[in-house]
């Protein structure tokens, strides 16, 4: 039985050679798996090793130190990030949800598939493009870099993410539920708000968490729109700092004490973003199992 040829034109190969090739290939697969995980391990290790010494009370309560002066912290960047991503969430969640509701509940025909296509295309917008676009519109119009411009630039990236992933979740809601509500005489909009959205609740929450995680980590759009700020700023029309932006600037400076702060910022960013992603994934797995 071992004289099966593996090529249409080649000569029969011995089973030993074929088995060896198969084993070698399996080894290569495992090698690829290990190779891909090495960077993850190294990044987490170095961020922890170099960042932990920077973490103390001052790191969270003080603002940017002058060059060469040790101490200081990133309080202004934490506040700025929270402010901008908060505003971006307020903008992009309603927009994303309405787009998703259109796509699942109303959308038929060409316009719906065109919208889905556009949402898909916008997912691949390079983040620097969102920055350049908002700079040429919002920053030029307002005449100044600002937290508002930063928030809008992040929303450009978050809107399609929330729209597409919420759409996926809404599709998991069984049609029986919709029909049951409609059969009771509930108007369509009320059926969507009271039946579809609550059923998909965890999934929508997951979609928002993923989008927030993405927004928190973005540097490029903020670079061109919010500019950064050494001092605490709570006025959304003024230049504002953000954690990734601060890490970017500190990492590229020649000042040793700033490098340490950059690693400290990286720990905080990594912990927040990774825990958001992990819990989002956990929630969505559970949700999908429940809806099946």
């Amino acid at each position: 039985m071992s004289i099966v040829t593996t090529e249409t034109h080649g000569k029969p190969r011995s089973i030993a050679v074929r088995k060896f090739k198969s084993r070698a290939f399996e080894g290569a697969m495992w090698f690829a798996g290990v190779l891909a995980l090495i960077p993850l391990v190294l990044i987490v290790y170095y961020v922890l090793r170099l960042g932990l010494p920077a973490i103390n009370i001052d790191f969270f309560t003080q603002t940017a130190p002058p060059p060469g002066v040790s101490g200081g912290g990133m309080a202004q960047a934490f506040v700025g990030s929270a402010m901008m991503v908060g505003m971006a969430t307020l903008i992009s969640v309603p927009l994303g949800l309405l787009t998703a509701i259109y796509l699942t509940e109303y959308g038929r025909g060409r316009f719906a598939s065109a919208t889905r296509f556009v949402a898909e295309i916008l997912l691949s917008t390079p983040s620097i493009i969102a920055g350049a676009f908002i700079w040429t519109t919002v920053v030029l119009l307002m005449g100044s870099f600002s937290a508002i411009a930063g928030a809008i630039a992040i929303s450009v990236l978050m809107w399609p993410i929330i729209a597409r992933s919420t759409e996926e979740t809404l599709r998991l809601v069984p049609n029986d539920l919709r029909e049951a509500a409609l059969a009771l005489g509930v108007p369509r909009w009320k059926m969507i708000l009271r039946v579809v959205l609550p059923t998909a609740g965890a999934g929508i929450f997951t979609a928002i968490m993923l989008a927030v995680a993405r927004g928190l980590g973005e540097t490029a759009p903020i670079l061109l729109t919010a500019l950064g700020n050494d001092f605490m700023n709570l006025d959304p029309t003024q230049p504002t700092d953000a954690v990734p932006l601060r890490i970017y600037n500190y990492a590229q400076s020649a000042v040793q004490t700033w490098h340490q702060l950059a690693w400290g910022g990286a720990i905080v960013l990594l912990v927040v973003v990774l825990s958001l992603s992990v819990s989002a994934r956990f929630l969505s797995d559970r949700q999908q199992r429940r809806l099946r």
């Binding site: 316009f111 399609p160 993410i161 369509r188 490029a220 960013l269 990594l270």
Partner: protein, 335 residues
């Protein structure tokens, strides 16, 4: 309908059309956003296109604020070189990884592996950049590049790619960091397209006495090929548009060297570095926006191609978290 019901019905209909109208309005807004991005970038970059011409701008190698002459070729070159290097490294690893996740039936390997690869995708690019400058680049410079230069650098034609230079920031670093960043996305999409290969095809090959590798090569890979190409496009799009991680490790040099160990510059990183300093006078800003337009058009075209090849939803992360039913062990099926 009795007269008493009429107002109620009208109110219901009003609520419905208001709600439906607002969802349609917002969907129009999403399309408007795409249109606005393209229009604004084109409109504000027009002065540069008019001055240098489309071909003149794309092929120009001089980028000089003092003479107000701008050509985009160094950035286009750097973007393409680093992205292709990233694909060359990431594609085999990602496909191997995707096959591993699909072939290994034990959940205790597969599930953690999937989660860990997704974590790699969630790391913010600035963290990659920080690690890239202070950990990865020095290691590559001191240990890997001399070895490559002494071995591959000696081969006649290909060797030009590996000529040593003293630069710490270079295109090789950028290609490696991009490869690490796009492995998760190519893996995730490839895993999906490999998972939907019909069982019949695998079983047919196994029933003919094919080994595992032969099954994969003859049944799985041909079936999944267009999907894997789509996954690669998605990864390529991500690599082309990556900004800060690349800007931090590439060395930001305008010379277009054949050697990967020389500094380079990419479209996103020049926009990040120079946009804020560009003044309203002269063509600096229009030239940067012209580069932005080139980048966004390439990204959108790649996204459209990959969507046509694999279908949508993959870059979100949710579409692929569906738990799959584990298949029975293939060896047992084959017996």
């Amino acid at each position: 309908m009795t007269p008493a019901e009429a107002p109620v019905r009208r109110r219901l209909r009003f609520g419905d059309s208001l709600f439906k109208g607002s969802t349609i309005f917002v969907s129009f807004g999403l399309m408007g956003l795409l249109g606005a991005i393209l229009f604004v970038l084109l409109y504000f970059s027009l002065p540069a296109w008019q001055k240098f011409g489309i071909w003149g701008f794309l092929s120009g190698t001089e980028w000089n604020g003092a003479t107000d002459i701008y050509g985009g070729l160094p950035f286009i070159y750097g973007t393409l070189v680093t992205s292709f290097l990233a694909i060359v490294i990431a594609l085999p690893i990602s496909v191997g990884l995707a096959l591993l996740i699909n072939e290994v039936r034990s959940g205790w390997v597969r599930n953690p592996l999937t989660v860990l690869i997704d974590l790699l995708a969630a790391i913010p690019s600035v963290v990659y950049g920080l690690w890239g400058i202070y950990v990865m680049a020095p290691f590559l410079n001191d240990h890997i590049e001399p070895i490559l230069g002494a071995t591959l650098g000696k081969i006649p034609v290909v060797g030009a790619l590996f000529q040593p230079t003293p630069s710490a920031g270079n295109m090789f670093n950028a290609g490696i960091i991009l490869a690490i960043m796009i492995i998760p996305i190519i893996t995730a999409v490839s895993r999906e397209v490999i998972a939907i290969v019909p069982r019949d095809l695998r079983e047919a090959a196994l029933a003919m006495g094919a080994t595992r590798w032969e099954t994969i090569r003859m049944s799985v890979l041909p079936y999944a090929r267009s999907g894997i190409v789509g996954a690669t496009m998605l990864g390529l799009g991500r690599a082309l548009g990556e900004t800060v991680a690349v800007a931090m490790v590439i060395g930001n040099g305008l010379g277009m060297s054949a050697s990967l160990f020389a500094p380079g510059y990419t479209i996103p990183s020049v926009i990040a570095n120079e946009f804020r300093e560009a003044t309203a006078i002269g063509l600096h800003r229009p030239a940067l926006l012209a580069l932005a337009l080139v980048l966004v058009v390439i990204s959108f075209v790649l996204a459209a191609i990959s969507r046509a090849l694999v279908g949508g939803g993959f870059s979100v992360g949710l579409a692929r978290t569906m738990p799959e039913e584990p298949l029975p062990d293939e060896e047992k099926v084959a017996e």
